[in-house]
Symmetry: C2
Subunit: 120 residues, 2 copies
């Protein structure tokens, strides 16, 4: 799940130490995150359902649904993250159809994997 190079700007980069909770299930949400470097585990009920690496993204479900977090996101390594808030997200969808397609591709990939897990 690679995101457009627009996100490669150094503005707003957030450095996160290994083991830090970026968010926890039940938290209010207002951002998704693009991983610039490092890895983040997405954990539901103690089960790691995905590990997101460089240029991947996470946290988009709560942003899109405007709902609380359904998972924990824990830095598996030291990370550099680019937060994208709801306003920025809607602006990007509006102005850059490629961004919307990119997010949809990432979600399609995750859905395909999740469906495979569910049907085993």
């Amino acid at each position: 799940m690679k995101l457009p190079e627009i996100f490669a700007s150094p503005a707003n980069v957030r450095s996160v130490l290994q083991g830090t909770a970026i968010f926890n299930a039940g938290d209010e949400s207002g951002e998704m995150y693009v991983v610039q470097s490092g890895e983040v585990d997405i954990i539901i009920n103690g089960v790691t359902v995905e590990t997101v690496g460089p240029e991947g993204f996470f946290g988009e479900i709560s942003l899109i649904e405007d709902s609380v977090r359904a998972a924990d996101a824990i830095a598996r390594t030291d990370c550099r993250l680019l937060p994208v808030n709801r306003h920025h997200f809607l602006f990007m969808v509006d102005e850059m159809p490629q961004f919307a397609l990119h997010v949809m591709k990432g979600m399609a990939d995750r859905l395909r994997k999740a469906d495979k897990r569910a049907a085993v």
Copy 2:
């Protein structure tokens, strides 16, 4: 998963009888479908992972990823479906950000459910 009223146009409606396979896993894909009436089962390896009802949609994963179908889609009842091909889909994402958001909301909803199943 409700889609904009633009899809309520009667053009291109496809009537499908109960029990018909709209597509099968492994099929080449070029369309997603909006359900106008009736219900469609999405089945992976014999397991029904979702039932899609009126104004819901399905088949978007293969369309977005430009890959073969990962699931069977079987008409649970007699149905009326509105096919959306790749060209139409890309046009809609380009011209109607609300459409992209709508598809993303549907996918977010499915991902949240799939993640819950996976983590049980």
